[in-house]
Assembly symmetry: C2
Homo-oligomer: 217 residues x 2
Amino acid sequence: MSDVAATGISVLLVDDHPIVRQGYRRVLESQGDLHVVAEADNAADAYSAFKAHDPDVVVLDISMPGASGLEAIRNIRARSPRARILVFTMHNEAVLVKAAFGAGASGFVTKSSEPSAVVNAIRSVARGERAMSDDIAHILAEDSLSPTGSVLDQLGEREIEILRQFAGGATTEEIATHLNLSVKTVQNYHYLIKTKTGARTDAQLVRLAATCGLTKI
Amino acid sequence: MSDVAATGISVLLVDDHPIVRQGYRRVLESQGDLHVVAEADNAADAYSAFKAHDPDVVVLDISMPGASGLEAIRNIRARSPRARILVFTMHNEAVLVKAAFGAGASGFVTKSSEPSAVVNAIRSVARGERAMSDDIAHILAEDSLSPTGSVLDQLGEREIEILRQFAGGATTEEIATHLNLSVKTVQNYHYLIKTKTGARTDAQLVRLAATCGLTKI
DNA sequence: TTGCAGCTCGGGCAAATTTCCCAAGCCGGA
DNA sequence: TCCGGCTTGGGAAATTTGCCCGAGCTGCAA
């Protein structure tokens, strides 16, 4: 990590698609000061690659739906709190952004950003600054103005877990079994989640979970 | 299009994320024989870029859930039936693959493929051959062995319409009103669709509709 | 032409689920 | 300590599902 200005910025690239990784690698290395020292295609490998290479910045581009992205952030930060992690994803839900920063990310950039914005974000993060793309800033700004907050953060941990499993296609009984709860309790959560989120339909619930990155489709 | 061997292969890149596009561009151009002559980030632009540049191959990487990807394929093929289109996406549903080929795609490669597989697919498609990545071939093979066929084409027109509205978040009553049907009829369709598709849950139904491009999320 | 097959539309009725309302234990903060 | 929020579930009415049924229509094929 030492002298960034002199040695350039070492980057660990995490993305589950090989070609995408190769593409990013070329874009980043064409900048001169950015060097991709390792790649990974899943959370576990990302963690071991981080331990092995101690990069200045981790660019995390996993599809994110599962909590695996957040877990990867937490794992890395738990090991080395000075790690700089830039989340780079196509998702732009306020909840997800907040969750990422809460888990310890230093930056959040969407794929719709210009390449220059991305490399600048990497440099900012490497300097220890917080970074986010314009669209993310707007989304967070909107979110902070809305009195309701952002749909999902009005849900408790248990509610989120049940919503995730439900949106994943599990039946009420299956969820009850998984979580060792009474069917009645799961039914009540189901109802509670619907009223809290304002979803009138199971389908709306699934869409909500999907747009929030709670589940992938 | 003329002499591919001598002039190389001209490529139109369609993807909604600029950095992803730039990454692909670099990967492709490093091959020597592949030249990215234009880029587009949506279906409409893809069509006009195609008209303007008449590329040998269109590499189409839109996120695809919406039908816009299929429409882009149909539009381009309608204008010039000899167009070669290689779909390049993270989705790997058999229905989607079939739909893409049905719409006139020449190839289908997933993002989990190796970069070499992708560039080889582009070359194959440019030669007029059909191309698909190994995982897609397996998925189609599996699908062809399943007696059920491809999930959605066992549904009637009305069933598909009701599934679309349902997955879009409409209640049973709303659907009945929209289509001027009895609530009971819609309920019966709902049930029928579930049994036909094998979905045990409304959530699974929504996911099915989404992966089939019936609804976007 | 007849007849079969499949789609569309809905009734009926028991079983299951959802919808609300309520209560109790637990825990963290004021 | 007390309040508020999370978690866990019971109860009962209302609604929906699951499944079976019939009827009208269309197209296709014998």
